[in-house]
């Protein structure tokens, strides 16, 4: 059962856009997601393979619509809920407060 991430060799995707002097992050929130993930990996809440797995379990529609760090955020929040650190409702509330 292949997953949506496993698209190597598949036709039809646009070519990869390469930016000159591309910054590591295109917005502050991306750096925050990067830092949070590194901290949670270092604390041993989950390992790198669990993180990859969490991203690969995204629905195909969500996966293809998401940017790189949006996928990371999805992976982090999925694992925070599955590991019992957050309740699923907490994520909705935060999104609402900042909406």
């Amino acid at each position: 059962m292949g997953r949506i991430n496993d698209v190597g060799g598949m036709q039809g995707f646009p070519s990869i856009a390469r930016e000159d002097d591309e910054p590591a992050f295109h917005a502050d929130w991306e750096a925050h997601v990067f830092a949070i993930n590194r901290a949670l990996l270092a604390r041993g809440l989950y390992n790198l393979d669990e993180f990859r797995d969490a991203i690969e379990r995204m629905s195909p529609q969500d996966y293809l619509a998401a940017s790189y760090y949006e996928r990371w955020l999805h992976g982090v929040t999925t694992l925070l809920v599955e590991k019992g650190v957050l309740a699923a409702g907490d994520l909705v509330d935060v999104a609402h407060d900042h909406g």
């Binding site: 059962m1 292949g2 496993d6 060799g9 390992n47 990859r52 797995d53 690969e56």
Partner: protein, 105 residues
Amino acid sequence: MQPGISWMSRTTMADELRPGDVVETPRTDPPHHTRVPRYARGATGTVVDFEGEHPLPDNRARGIATAPESVYTVRFAGDQLFDGTDHDIVLSMWRSYLTKKADDE
């Protein structure tokens, strides 16, 4: 290849692979995380190097305690994987992904 890891130290284990060994990859996708890309399923390749020992990601992603196992560099002829490709494709493969083909095959 990591410095200090030699083939000589690996050859004492019966199930270890050596450069030149012909190997096959799994034909089917497992129902969990794996590091075998779809395009390399059911393919035949040749071991070219030893990359060290690492726990199998398929197990680690599922919280299954797992001892490190050998990871090999495996070369595939491009036309094995994609029609009209004339270059080689080289992948890192955990030992569990590989079945050694008998010498007479």
